[in-house]
Structure formats: C-alpha cells, structure tokens
C-alpha cells in the first residue's frame, strides 16, 4: 500500500521532473530529486547517557560521509519522550532503548507491541511501521501453542524486521553485577538469561556464609512506589515481585513455571487453563490466601490498574471450581498467556484492597492508593521505606520458599563512585545497579579480591529509530543503506567499552530459544556498501550532498 502511494507521488511529479531534465544541461543533476533536508538525531544528553550520545555522534559522522547533513541533539528524557512519543509526526531520527524485564522473556511483548500496526497511533510502534504480512504473522504466533511452530514464526518476524531495517539495532549491552563472595555463597546465586544474577531466584536462594545475613544492595534511581497494581520505575518491580506472589514465575530458563499455582493445565483447544492453588498459602497478616483473592487479583486491574489491564483483557471469565481450583477462560488462544499474565499479575489480598478500591473517586485508580502495610504472600515481608534512603524487607520464614537471608535492604545511592567505594568497604554486599564503566568495576574487584563480578547479555537493546512517516525514511532501501553505514564494532568498542554484543533483532541472544541465530551477522555493513545501496535505489550525490531519487521532492524542508 505504501509503495502505491509513492508510485502515485512519483507519477504526479514526473511532469515537473521532465521539465527539470530539459532545463538542465548536466545529466548528473538532472537525474536527482531535491536535496535531502538537514536531519536531527535526538539522543539523551551526554551527561545523562554518555554511551548513547557517543554512539549517536559516531553514527552522524558515518552518515555525513554519505552526503547527509546530520546534527546530534542531546535532550533530557522527558523532553525526548515528549518529542518522539507525543508528537509522532515531527521528528526524524532518535536514539532509543528497550529495557529488559522478566516478562520480556517471552518474545511476544516486544515482537507484537513494537511493530504491529495497531500500536502506531499511541502505542509502542512510535516509528509508524505498517506491514500487513508482519501483522498477520505476529497475530498468528500469539495463537500458536506449539513451541516449534511458534519458533518458525518468530524467526520469520525477525527476518522481516531485518529485511526492512525498521530500526537500526546497535547493541545488547552487557549487564554487570557483583557481590561479596565472602558474604554470599557464590554457588547459590542464580543467573537468569537476560537479567543476570540480580533476580528473584538469587534473592530467594542465595545463602550467607557467615554472620552477615542481611543483603545490602543498591539502586541508582530514586524509588516512587511500592504497590502491587503499579510499577512506576524499573527498581519498583524488584521489590514488588518479592513481596507479592504470582501464579507463575519466569524461571531461570526464561520459561514460566508454576509458583503459587500447584499445577497449570491447558485444555486441548488452548482456550482455557485450570489452576490448582498451592496448599497452606498465607498473607503476611496471617489470613489464608483463597481462590477469591486470586479472582480479585485478576479482575480488579480491569477497572483499577491501567498498567496491568492489557494483560488481563484476554480473560473472558474466571470460574471457581472448588476452594483450591480455578479455571481461566480466554477470549482467544494466547501462547504468551503464562508469561504475560499468570507470571506478571501480583496476587493481592482482597480483604485489604477491596475496601480501598471501593472508596476511590471517579477517575482515580489503584495507582493513587498508598497502601502502607503492603501485605502480600511472597517470600519477603515489607518492613519499611525511608524516602530517598532505603527499603527494608524481612525474609518470610513461613513461606514455602523461605529465603536464606534475614533482611533484604535496598539503599539508594546516586553517586557511581560512591557505589563502588561502598562495595569495597562492605557497606554494600551486592551490587544490583551499576551504571558506570564496567572496566572500573572489574579493576576494583581485582584490587579487592573478595568481589565476584558477573556479566550477562541484556534482554533489552539500544537502537536508532527512523520515523517511517517522513520520507526518505519510508523507503526500506534508504534505511538499509543508513543502517549499513553504521560501524557497530566501533560503537561497541568505543561507546560501550566492549561491554555489549552487536544487535540486529528485538529478540536478544539472551533468549537463546527464540533468538534467530546469526541474525546480527546477516547484516552486511560498510560505507561503500551503503553508497552502492543508495545508488541502486536512485539516490544521487551532487555537490557533496545526498539527493532524493529523480522526481522526488522534499516535503519537510526546514
């Protein structure tokens, strides 16, 4: 459809082009359209995200060799979001990133939301990618319960994105974490692909070696909320998943496994799932966890938790079969249901939350409720939260998966150098959030001797987004050329200090089952290649400046 409109545009302009050809004596110019406008590449400001900014500079440099006039503009995040997310017709190029989260262990969330045409207007598809074939396969994989068949589709989708170069993928950064190996038994930490050792399984499993039984970890961001119906930032979710249980958990293998559910059984048509609740579960206030609580936790979000609503929309009905068993009926088969719903929704106590929700005014929802007891049923109990300083959780010894540690203490430390210092002076014994240069951490660990550093590839990735609404970025050949001109090896080494792997897919190599092997190598690169792709597609360099193909005019000249 897009090709057609462009064809029309070309036809309508051909008269003008013919006139231009006759008027001009130089054939090189005669074949060219308008010069391509000056382009602005938006990035986070240098101070806020030096890696991203440097990558942007390197990209702009390479593109100048192609004859483009590119400027990098650093912006604070809210301003960047405002420009890119809320004014979707106004920008050309932006640096962007997708963060890794446990629920993103299933490729569906990113595969579907980022590129499906239904999310173009307001959702995650902010680049404006519309491809009917892609839509169809993306919908199909959702309804395919067979893993092998689904894998074929996920591969196909990765191929389409590679072919169209909707994004210029750059890298999957390596996450670095560290802990004091004299305090924690290294063999009891658990590495979860894409998330590293900072995960639910490490926190519930790790065993102290001596008298220090409190885990002291760090967050480099301020915290905003601890609420089972609301995630206000990345760090919140580390806390909520420890306090509130879920029916299933994403296991260290990246797949959902039963947790508060004893068993999870699917019907043959994949339209309903029967769940048996684990025996003897208790809320932190001593009340039993009942099937009513489960129903409440999956129905309350429809009206009261906008953030979780999309994940329960696919539930048609929940039937309580007896005091331990429930059946979820779905509106349509959904392969990602376990990951994106059963392993995502927090189980919240009905007796605490129902009266609070009932007291809300119109237009308010569970996000505006400050419920300070924070009663859950999870392996950790909420103790207290001191603003801008720390959150303290106590191990729940009654839990069937009771943690080995005594307390889990998250300190807010904004200063990266101080974070490293604290780790070495044992004020911290688990480095859970490190935004500094990984090589400094490794040096510090070598000097210290007690610290063990663990690196792992992120589920998330860094990329450059083209605005497909605005020519020339609607042309896949143009995007392929621009993407080919990017030297990812240089970016990986210079901007990320080598702590990253090259990317060319939304599905990270950390998700080894779903990632299409070798897709990063399928992308041929080089400035010469880029030039030849452009030439083939009809773009012309004249006077050092890249021009549109014959007959195409500049609609967005500034």
């Amino acid at each position: 459809m897009k090709r057609n409109t462009k064809g029309l545009l070309r036809a309508s302009l051909s008269v003008a082009a013919a006139a231009a050809i006759m008027a001009s004596s130089q054939t090189a110019i005669a074949e060219a359209g308008d010069p391509i406008r000056e382009l602005t590449l938006i990035s986070r400001a240098q101070a806020a995200n030096p890696q991203q900014f440097q990558a942007a500079e390197l990209i702009a440099q390479a593109w100048r060799e192609l004859g483009l006039d590119v400027t990098v503009q650093g912006m604070p995040r809210p301003q960047q979001s405002d420009a890119v997310w809320y004014n979707r017709d106004t920008w050309d190029l932006t640096m962007w990133q997708m963060a890794g989260r446990p629920e993103r262990s299933d490729p569906d969330e990113l595969i579907y939301n980022l590129f499906h045409s239904t999310t173009v207007e307001n959702g995650y598809n902010f680049v404006g990618y519309v491809n009917a074939e892609y839509d169809q396969v993306a919908e199909q994989q959702r309804m395919t319960a067979n893993r092998e068949e689904r894998k074929v589709m996920i591969d196909k989708l990765q191929d389409i994105i590679n072919e169209d170069q909707v994004y210029a993928f750059l890298v999957h950064p390596l996450q670095t974490y560290a802990f004091d190996s004299t305090v924690w038994d290294a063999s009891t930490t658990v590495e979860q692909p894409g998330l590293g050792i900072k995960n639910f399984w490490t926190f519930t499993n790790v065993a102290p070696l001596g008298d220090q039984r409190d885990m002291v970890l760090n967050s480099s961001d301020e915290l905003n909320a601890i609420n089972p119906f609301y995630i206000s930032g990345a760090t919140d979710s580390w806390i909520t998943e420890l306090i509130w249980d879920r029916m299933m958990r994403i296991g260290p293998d990246g797949l959902a496994q039963p947790w508060a559910a004893e068993t999870v059984e699917w019907s043959d048509d994949a339209m309903s799932v029967t769940i048996t609740l684990r025996d003897g579960m208790m809320w932190h206030d001593g009340q039993p966890v009942t099937t009513d609580d489960v129903v409440f936790s999956f129905t309350a979000p429809v009206d009261f938790a906008p953030m979780y609503k999309p994940f329960v929309d696919g539930i048609a009905n929940i039937e309580v079969l007896d005091d331990k068993t429930l059946r979820f009926d779905l509106t349509e088969p959904n392969a990602a249901f376990e990951t994106s719903t059963l392993a995502k929704l927090n189980l919240a106590p009905k007796h605490v939350w129902e009266p609070l929700l009932a007291a809300l005014n119109d237009g308010e929802n569970a996000e505006s409720i400050l419920e300070e007891t924070r009663i859950g049923s999870g392996p950790f109990k909420f103790n207290r939260w001191v603003t801008q300083q720390e959150v303290v959780l106590d191990a729940n010894s009654e839990h069937w998966a009771a943690p080995e540690m005594e307390r889990w203490i998250l300190r807010v430390v904004l200063n990266v150098e101080a974070t490293l210092g604290m780790l070495r002076s044992s004020d911290l014994n688990f480095l859970s959030d490190y935004t500094g240069d990984p090589s400094l951490l490794i040096e510090a660990a070598e000097a210290d001797g007690d610290l063990e550093v663990v690196e792992s590839v992120d589920i998330g990735f860094q990329y450059l987004a083209f605005n497909l609404r605005r020519p020339p970025f609607d042309d896949a050949a143009f995007r392929r050329a621009l993407s080919a001109a990017i030297n990812r090896e240089l970016i990986r080494k210079a901007a990320y200090n080598g702590f990253a792997v090259n990317a060319n897919s939304v599905v990270s190599p950390a998700l080894s089952y779903w990632h299409k092997d070798g897709i990063a190598e399928e992308l041929d690169t080089g400035v010469d290649l880029a030039k030849s792709i452009l030439e083939e597609a009809g773009y012309v360099v004249d006077g050092g400046r890249l021009h549109y193909p014959e007959g195409q005019t500049e609609q967005f000249a500034n």
Binding site: P76, R77, P78, Q79, S81, D82, W85, Y86, A99, N113, T119, E121, N122, G123, Y124, D214, V216, E222, N224, A225, N227, I231, S232, P306, M307, K309, P310, G363, E364, N365, E367, S368, I369, L370, V386, T387, Q388, Q389, E390, V392, R407, I409, R411, V412, V413, L414, N415, E417, A418, G421, M422, R424, S425, D427
Partner: protein, 325 residues
C-alpha cells in the same frame, strides 16, 4: 508594630508572587508529566486516565485557582509521582535538610567569624598572606570534588566515617527524635556537614574580616587603645560586636539559600534531602511536588529575611530610627 505589619504584608506578597511564577513556569516548561510514565503506559485510554487523575484536563485558569485556594488551606496538593500529599513527602526529608544546613552553617559561621576577626587583627602579617589564599581556594573548590576526596579518604581509606545515607542500612529507631540524636545519625552527618561548611565558611570569614577592618579604623577603637584596654577587650568587646551585624544577616539568608542549594552534597553523600527531591520532581515534571518544594524553600528564605530584618530592628537603634522617620 506598624512596621512589623507592613513587613508581614510584604512577605505574604512575595510568597504569592513566587507561588504564581512557579505555577506558570512549570506548566510552560517543555515536557509533560506523562512522559515519566510512558515506558510503562501504552494505550491512549491509559494516558487519558492519567491526565484526568492529575487534573491536567482542566483549564490553566481553573488549575491556578484550585492551586491558590488549596495553598491558602496549607494543602500543596498530591505528588504525581509519590501519590502522597506533597507536605508529607517534603516533611520526610525536611528534618535531614534542616539539620545538615544548620550544623554546617553553624560550623562555617563560628569558624568564619573567629578566623575573620583574627585575620583582620593580623592584617599585613604572614598569617594573612597565607590565610586569605587558603580561604579563597577552599571556597572555590567544587563541592562534589571535595566531597569525593573526603569520602575516599575518611570513609573508604581510613574507614572512620560511614560512606552515605543519613543512617546505617537497616538501622531502627523508636522515634524521629531518637533517630536524629543517635550516634549513627551524627556520624553520617559529619562528612556532608564538613564538606558544606568548608564551602560556606568563605563568606562569613571575608565579610567579618572586611567589617572588622572598617571598624578598626573607627575613632572609638582609637579611643579604646588610648584608654589602654587589652587587645582582647578591643577585638572582642568593641570591634567584633560591631562588625557582626552584616554577618548575622548573611547567616539568616544562608539558611534559606542552603536548604535548597545542597543538591550536590546530598547527591555525593546519598543524603536524603530536599535538594534531591526537587531535582527529581523537576525532571519528572511532578508539578505539585516541585512547586511545593520550591515554595517551602522560598518560605524559609522569606521568613529568615523577615526575622533578620526584625532582629536588625531590635539590635541596631539606627535602623529603628530610620524606619520611624
């Protein structure tokens, strides 16, 4: 009394002006408060819900009127981010900020006054030649650098003092009072307070010194010398007391200024305080919280200014007479 009322009315006017400027300033800034949520929120429905929840669907005039009437009742609104009343959020860290500011100001001013008076007395000596450049250098040293050096040495190297926060991890206290009087709190306070004091001491020291130099030229000092009074009596009883007035004003203003100006020290030492709160609120376009925190700082500044004026009025007969005339 009339003077007092007049000054009071002026103070209210200043506060109203600041509140109004703040209100419109934050709303004309680029960026929307929704931007802070978009990583998690997707649909338009959800965005609309947020807009309504924040009251951003009302007209600017309506929002302003609501803001003013609520303000009169001491209600600064609800923080978009923390989902708590602004007053509650601010008050959680306000004691930390006030204590850090007051303790460092006290150290800075006591040291500054004594050292300033001494340097004035020793004018032209080697002490002055050495002292003034030293004061200027420490005054000019960036706070974050000084803070990092102190952290690296006293905390990480020597291990004498804790490295960050206002309390040890997981420390529990029976009350807020017990917390801020505990050894744990005071040891955490030491490094940030000293860093800030070093930064702040330059002003009172140099001010005191130049005032002293002026006062020492005065005839009553010559008179005192002629009477054969001791050096001690001349410097402390006669000269210093007269030179103190402008320093007292600077102290009062310093309290207001320093309450809001501690972002750097708060960040370096992970000290929970109002400066960090403010920076976050601005970055996240949390209008109510940013307004509230700024207003609190303004209020402290204006009230301190007011108190300084009134004390001046009481302390110095000349001002009293001028005000009447």
């Amino acid at each position: 009394m009339v003077y007092f009322l007049k000054r009071f009315a002026q103070m209210i006017f200043v506060l109203w002006t600041v509140a109004t400027i703040l209100f419109f300033m934050f709303r004309t800034m680029p960026g929307t408060p929704l931007a802070a949520f978009i990583d998690n929120t997707t649909t338009e429905e959800q965005q609309q819900a947020l807009i309504e929840q924040f009251g951003l669907d009302k007209s600017l005039g309506e929002q302003y009127w609501l803001f003013l009437t609520n303000l009169m009742q001491g209600d600064l609104g609800q923080s978009f981010f923390f989902k708590k009343p602004v007053v509650e959020v601010v008050m959680e860290v306000f004691p930390n900020s006030v204590i850090l500011t007051l303790s460092s100001l006290l150290v800075a001013y006591i040291f500054g006054i004594i050292a300033g008076a001494y340097l004035a007395w020793r004018r032209g000596s080697w002490v002055e030649g050495f002292g003034i450049p030293l004061v200027l250098t420490t005054r000019a040293a960036p706070e974050f650098w000084l803070g990092m050096v102190f952290l690296a040495y006293f905390s990480f190297h020597l291990g004498w003092l804790p490295s960050g926060g206002a309390n040890s991890s997981g420390a529990e206290f029976s009350s807020e009072w017990a917390r801020i009087t505990s050894w744990d709190f005071l040891s955490h306070l030491a490094l940030p307070a000293i860093t800030l004091a070093i930064y702040l001491q330059g002003l009172p020291l140099l001010l005191m010194r130049s005032n002293m130099l002026n006062v020492l030229q005065e005839e009553f000092i010559t008179m005192a010398r002629m009477k054969g009074l001791s050096t001690w009596a001349i410097v402390i009883r006669h000269a210093a007391r007269n030179a103190l007035l402008p320093v007292a004003t600077a102290f009062a203003l310093g309290i207001g200024g320093a309450v809001g100006g501690n972002v750097v020290v708060e960040t370096v030492f992970s000290w929970p305080g109002i400066g960090r709160l403010l920076v976050n609120a601005v970055a996240a376009s949390d209008y109510p919280l940013a307004q509230g925190a700024f207003l609190m700082i303004t209020a402290v500044l204006v009230v301190m200014n007011f108190i300084a004026d009134i004390t001046y009025h009481l302390l110095d007969p000349r001002v009293r007479v001028a005000a009447r005339g």
